[in-house]
Amino acid sequence: MIAPAAQSFPAAIGRKPLLQIQGLGVRYGSHWALRDFDLDVHQGDMVGIIGPNGGGKSTLFKAILGLVPPTAGRVLKPSGALRIGYVPQHLTYDTSFPITVGEFLTVNHPARFFWCGGVGRKQKREITDTLERLHVADLLGQRLGTLSGGQFQRILVASALLQKPELLLLDEPSASVDRRGSDDLSDILEEIHRATSLSVVFVSHDLHFVSHLAKKVCCLNQTCCAAGDPETVLTDHLLAQTYGTTGHTWRGFQPSDPLSR
């Protein structure tokens, strides 16, 4: 089913959503980055958001996180406080900052009471378990500034998972990794999603990644142009409508394309 105004996805109708976005609009000065956007995210959803640059994808995440105030509409968390784990697209930091992966994850740990940046044994166990889950346990003592793009991306995912999130927001998770790294990351995220019923919303330009991972797709260009299953949304026609051009990036692309697996 194609739902041009992207509300609840059909399979979820009747269930209470974790996150409810109603008529959301965000304006920077006179420019509307996002307008009339509706989206319901339920427990266990895996939603991929695609759209052109400047289409409002990062603004949407910032509004969900409360980093930018909505100009119109609202972001509701019907179950009360919602624990969100966020993985940014870029993390600008001083790469000469001498901090190890273990220390980085320690300061990211949400444990409230500890001294001098340390955590207890239980929290240390959680950190190593999370790294093992992401297949990067060997990076624990390595300096953050020496990691490759793919390794760094996984550490960011680990830092978000340590928040014990009910909702995971990933901004371009495959942007800094090659095709194989992207497939590996997609497999890991799928495994975590299957094992924990974690709700995931991610933004990506990589249609292969989206078709591999997303169970639902939303096309965003300031507002939601189309939403539904990957098979129905990832078509030349709807993608052309979303991106507002008839470019060739997605021409002929099919979700069942073996290259996407």
Partner: protein
Amino acid sequence: MNLSEIWSYEFIRYALISACILGPTCALLGVFVTLRGMAFFSDSLAHSAVTGVALGFLLEEKTGLAIDPMLIVLAFSIGLASLMAWLFHRTTLRPDTVIAFSFTGSVAFGVIIIAWLQKYRLLDGILFGSIYANGPGDILRQAILALVVGGFLLLQMRPLTLSTLNPELAQTRGIRTGWLNYAFAILIAATVVVSLRMLGALLLSALIVIPPAAAKLVSNSFASLLLVSAVIGLAAPFLGVVASCQLDLPTGPTIVLANVGVLILCYAASLFLGNRALHRGGRPQ
């Protein structure tokens, strides 16, 4: 003069105690100051103390009130630090631009007051400090500062480290970076004012900037950066005071040169350890 002889002089004893308290305090705070790119900020607060002192004398001359000049300098520096932190947050001006006009403006104002009061001799003490003028009251003030800085760092280590690494990521992890930045700016102002007597406005930055810079060259983790920085912060000023007594040199500059000497040693050690490229940072391509 051997060590026991040095220790027998009360004024040198106070100078050594002062160096041992303020050195590690400034060095630990300096780790975050340098990682946040705020070295110029702390330097500007030190120089702006000229205005605080001038205002104190103006107040005394015009009203007859003899308030502890340290309190007036402290109030002025905290006010200036808060104003600069507010401007960083609320305007689109670059932080170094904000610092430059706030600092030159306040120093110019201070010098005009000093000229008006005809008290140019004040400048000497503010600019170069006088570590041997420390008394028990100064030591107590410095010990309180060390406790406040140490307590703040212990309790706020996680939010401070994360917001130093990336403020936006810290916000998404529920850290209120706004108040943390204000608190940190005020703590720098208090540290600078209380430490002024040791090195003076011109040289004080050495205590804050050099130990963490040297420690960064030989550290592979954040824990080691903090530890090595505190050790250098303790050792270099102590050596500086002792060397100045032995060699009959001015103490403030000798402390700074001891810090620079340790920095050079750390650089040599990093070359010897063969991980200079690592310390420069950057990810392997």
